[in-house]
């Protein structure tokens, strides 16, 4: 079963994304910020990270940058989810190492389709 790590400081959003991902048949874990995500990622393997941008302690950009520098995590696909729809924010996400940028609240089908594709199957 594919495993997904949902990284977001908002409980509600984590819950929502968990529902979406579990309905695809993914196994889900959660992290509240970048640091926790790195810790979890180093302990077990994930097929995909869903990452929020604005978080305390370590934000999404930093998290993805750290992942890309860390051999164990550098190849894991990342979908970054943000409320900002501007091109600048999107470019910043890609520069830091995200593989897709989705504006939230995301269209359910869209998010599910992309998560399934990037994680490598359902």
């Amino acid at each position: 079963m594919k495993k997904i790590l949902i990284v977001d400081d908002a409980v509600t959003v984590r819950m929502y994304h968990r529902q979406l991902m579990e309905s695809l048949g993914f196994e889900v874990e959660e992290a509240e910020n970048g640091i926790e995500a790195l810790e979890k990622g180093l302990v077990r393997h994930f097929d995909l990270f869903l990452v929020d941008v604005n978080m305390p302690k370590m934000d999404g950009y930093r998290l993805v940058e750290e992942m890309r520098k860390t051999p164990e995590l550098q190849a894991i696909p990342v979908i970054m989810i943000s409320t900002e729809a501007s091109e600048q924010d999107m470019e910043k996400a890609y520069l830091s190492g995200a593989n897709l940028y989705v504006v939230k609240p995301a269209n359910v089908d869209e998010l599910q389709t992309y998560a399934a594709l990037l994680a490598g199957g359902e």
Binding site: P56, P71, Q74, L117
Partner: protein, 914 residues
């Protein structure tokens, strides 16, 4: 109740509490960035989560509050007690709504009206004139550039610009033909340089001529020319129109420094269709028009083509009719010709007037080649019938885009690996398994270059084109942009003279060569050579250098394995000759590519003079080491970052004369632009004696912007903090002015320098000045290493780090606490055992003497104890691959003449992780 709603209510209450507390504390200390960030984040989270529920009225209010807070956070709006009152009221309302949600599941009566009032009040704060007492033009330049860029996103849907008709028909036809076979972005570029642009060192013509994929350009006067006597040669009065075909990103990257003055539009191939010429006698075409109308309607493309052909043979060039026929012929090469467009062309034959079919600019028919420009943000799958396939395609487009973005070296491996993984997953999901992916990934990782993957993804994308366009016959030759490498052979200055002496790279050349009076003017014989040829030569030299390394091994075998000492000796003698020749050859080839940095420096005197006048500052520019030479690419890469750095110094670094005098400094500020060649690096320094940078301000900003976290904030040193000005996304509002605030930050400087394989650093003392140092490789040189042996293994150590090699009796080694040291020439040299550093078996057999490599590491002399010295070697160092990538104490590896692999040690890293 829905557990998610429950979670939302309880989470939002927590956040409201945090927000309330922050507001009250902010009233006490309004500038606290940490508080503002907490506040912003709590409101942001409420907004984000509320979007998951159907309560738009609620979301709107929180959104408005977030926007206001954002502008407070960015310093555009100053928070007053009245604002805080208003926020607290808003938070109260939100809290009431949460209660309503909990008890009834909805927001209750009157929520809509209440929401409207609150939103209006909050937004009113934003439209109020800025209350911060800052310079009114502080944020202006960046803001102005926004609306200029905005129309680009819809580029494809706009009518093509009228000036496109000025592009010769022939070129447009040829370009159109290319689009069948290649995936090309065709960009129409209108560039109206700032009339003052010369003062900032810009050469618009050069920018246009070097556009990647330049196809055609055209120059026009913006305003009619003044009388010659009144003309100001330093006012730019031109407009450039250009068409380039390549990748959208690359072209935009090229224009990044002038993007305010550029309008770029993405063109569909069909938009190139504009027949031109004089409308001739239409009588000979009447039958054709009649028949063709029918054929176009029926889709009888083959027969239509057959009719056009003979007609074209008798048509004369220069007539509109001929051009129309050419276009029809070209359009008919498509598998599914554009019917409407053909009809329009036919109409032109009738009436002599060409008009694009109206539906061409309808979004639906246009949307057949998704591109990032076209749908701007992120990912969307609108109006495509096969959502899944479309999603795969869209995701691939994004990966392609990511690969083309600038990347720091430390992130590159991660970027390649993750994109590779995504592409793999995408292909697996779409059940296609095209060959070559693994190979492309492997090469990309090996070479640390995204190019192989880019090529692979491009192929995939063009194969996936929804309209299934097949490659057209033969792709046209790309217009060749010849890069010129100049080899100036001026009186007495020669490359690799017959006495074997290679011209020194710097310094020694008489500078006044071109200005010396009395002498006949030096005739410069210039040879223009395609750069590729020189690159090929360089590759060959590299191979020769490696091949010659085989000879010492051969000599050793002759002696040891075959016992022919005399032969060994002769081989060694031959080796010495070949070695010298190879070195000279290498030097000579590199010399061809070398140009003095003065070619970049010479722009600056004028720039500085004019800018300092404009700024009302007294500034003196000192150029040092202009004769320093470096590889052509390196020098060319320098120009843009240097202009930015000098502008920065002029603008923010140096104070006005009054400020300087009141600080007890001379009224005139100085900028030194200095080039030094140091080993294999050319170091460029931009030094000013201005106000310097305050590391505390940088720290605060970096923290506020989330560039560093709290923990880092406590531990970061001043020097480290200064380097943060190069971090992406770090540019303080205070730094923006009309001169350098062009959306180009220090991060761009850094990425340009890094791409050229260099480094950039900053030193600054508050009140005394700032030095920015760029170090760039002089060229892609061959490294000289010394082979050392330890525990039966050979390693390479870069020669430049080695001070000397010594042997000392073991009795001379002294113990100081836990460390060992040796005294050499009255200096205490700490000793390190390479075997221990590398965790190898320690050689216990003591011979009463140890071999020590005396090295200079990070400014300090240390001794490295090894088992044996061996010879010095020239190697072409390659970065490590595979598992070894994770061992930073290896700088790289090289292939030896006998086929073995030599690992080259990074002594600095090795010592730092002991």
């Amino acid at each position: 109740m829905d557990p998610m709603l429950e979670a939302f209510i309880s989470e939002s209450r927590d956040n409201l509490e945090t927000a309330g507390r922050c507001f009250l504390e902010l009233e006490k200390c309004s500038g606290d960035e940490g508080l503002l960030n907490d506040l912003f984040r709590s409101v942001h989270t409420i907004k984000g989560s509320s979007g998951l529920f159907d309560i738009p009225v609620f979301t709107k209010v929180v959104h408005a509050a977030e926007d206001v807070l954002d502008s407070v956070r960015s310093g555009e709006l100053l928070m007053t007690p009245e604002h805080i009152d208003m926020f607290l009221d808003t938070m109260d309302q939100v809290s009431v709504w949460l209660d309503d949600l909990e008890s009834t599941g909805s927001l209750g009566d009157g929520a809509e009206a209440r929401s409207q009032v609150l939103v209006q009040d909050l937004r009113a704060l934003l439209s109020a004139p800025p209350t911060v007492g800052s310079d009114p033009n502080v944020t202006e330049p960046e803001d102005l550039s926004q609306p200029q860029d905005a129309p680009d996103t819809g580029g494809r849907l706009c009518t093509p610009p009228g000036w496109l008709a000025a592009m010769p028909d022939k070129l447009r036809l040829a370009l159109y033909a290319r689009t069948g076979g290649e995936s090309l972005d065709i960009l129409a570029i209108e560039y109206t340089p700032d009339s003052q642009c010369f003062f900032s060192g810009e050469d618009p013509l050069h920018i246009v001529r070097t556009l990647p994929g330049m196809v055609w350009f055209h120059i026009q006067a913006r305003d009619s020319w003044l009388e010659p006597v009144e003309m100001d040669p330093y006012q730019c009065n031109l407009v450039f129109h250009a068409v380039a075909a390549g990748t959208d990103n690359e072209i935009r990257h090229h224009l990044r420094y002038v993007n305010e003055w550029v309008h770029v539009m993405l063109l569909a191939p069909d938009q190139l269709v504009v027949p031109e010429g004089e409308f001739g006698d239409s009588e000979p075409f009447e039958t054709f028009i009649e028949e063709s109308t029918q054929l176009i309607e029926e889709g009888g493309w083959r027969r239509l083509r057959q009719r056009i052909h003979p007609l074209l043979e008798v048509s004369e060039p220069g007539f509109l009719q001929t051009s129309v026929l050419h276009w029809m012929e070209t359009l008919l090469k498509e598998d599914e010709p554009n019917q409407a467009l053909l009809e329009s062309l036919l109409e032109t034959l009738r009436s002599g007037v060409f008009q694009w079919p109206e539906e061409m600019f309808d979004p639906v028919t246009q949307d057949n080649t998704p591109s990032l420009v076209e749908d701007g943000t992120s990912v969307s799958m609108h109006e495509l019938d096969e959502p899944r396939l479309a999603a795969v395609r869209q995701a691939l487009v994004v990966q392609r885009h990511i690969l083309s973005m600038p990347c720091s070296y430390e992130l590159l491996a991660g970027r390649i690996a993750s994109v590779a993984k995504v592409v793999k997953n995408l292909l697996a999901a779409s059940e296609s398994h095209p060959a070559g992916l693994d190979a492309a990934i492997e090469t990309a990782l090996d070479e640390k270059s995204p190019e192989p993957l880019v090529a692979f993804v491009d192929d995939l994308l063009s194969a996936m084109k929804p309209d299934g366009k097949k490659p057209a016959s033969g792709p046209e030759d790309k217009p060749m942009q010849r890069e010129e490498v100049r080899h100036q052979d001026v009186s007495g200055q020669q490359v690799g003279g017959s006495d074997g002496e290679i011209c020194p790279r710097m310094g020694a050349m008489p500078k006044q060569m071109s200005t010396s009076a009395g002498e006949p003017p030096a005739r410069s014989k210039t040879l223009r050579v395609d750069q590729q040829r020189i690159d090929a030569l360089m590759d060959l030299v590299g191979e020769l250098v490696v091949a010659k390394n085989a000879m010492p091994f051969l000599a050793r075998r002759a002696e040891n394995d075959f016992g022919i000492r005399l032969l060994a000796k002769e081989i060694k003698a031959q080796y010495a000759v070949i070695n010298r020749l190879a070195e000279e050859l290498q030097g000579a080839v590199m010399q061809i590519r070398m140009i003095p940095v003065s070619s970049v420096f010479q722009r600056f005197p004028r720039l500085v003079r004019d800018l300092s006048r404009k700024l009302g500052k007294q500034i003196r520019l000192v150029l040092e080491g202009e004769e320093t030479e470096a590889d052509k690419n390196v020098v060319e890469n320098l120009a843009d970052p240097l202009i930015h750095l000098v502008r920065n110094s002029l603008d923010h670094g140096l104070e006005t004369a009054q400020e300087r005098e009141s600080a007890g400094k001379p009224a005139e500020g100085t900028i030194i632009l200095r080039a030094i060649s140091h080993d294999d690096q050319v170091i460029i320094e931009v030094v000013d004696n201005g106000r310097g940078i305050d590391p505390e301000v940088i720290k605060r900003k970096a923290y506020g912007k989330g560039v560093i976290d709290e923990q880092r904030l406590d531990t970061i040193t001043d020097h480290e903090a200064l380097q943060l000005i190069f971090a992406a996304g770090f540019s303080t509002a205070e730094e923006v002015s009309d001169l350098s605030g062009r959306g180009v930050g220090m991060d761009v400087v850094r990425s340009v320098v890094m791409q050229a394989g260099g480094r950039v650093s900053v030193e600054s003392k508050k009140g005394e000045g700032t030095t920015i140092r760029l170090s760039l490789p002089l060229s892609m040189a061959v490294t000289r290493v010394m082979m050392v042996e330890v525990a039966g293994q050979c390693y390479g150590v870069a020669m430049e780090n080695i001070v000397e090699t010594v042997r000392v009796p073991t009795t001379d080694i002294q113990r100081i606490k836990h460390n060992e040291a040796v005294v050499l020439r009255d200096k205490i040299i700490p000793l390190f055992y390479l075997s221990k550093l590398l965790n190898l078996k320690v050689n216990t057999a003591s011979s009463g003497e140890v071999a020590i490599l005396l090295m200079k590491v990070a400014g300090q002399e240390v001794g490295l104890v090894i088992d044996e010295f061996h010879e010095g070697l020239d190697i072409i160092q390659k970065p490590l691959e595979g598992v070894l990538v994770h061992y930073p104490w290896y700088a790289g590896a090289a292939l030896l003449g006998d086929g073995r692999v030599l690992l080259v040690l990074n002594i600095r890293e090795l010592l730092s992780c002991r």
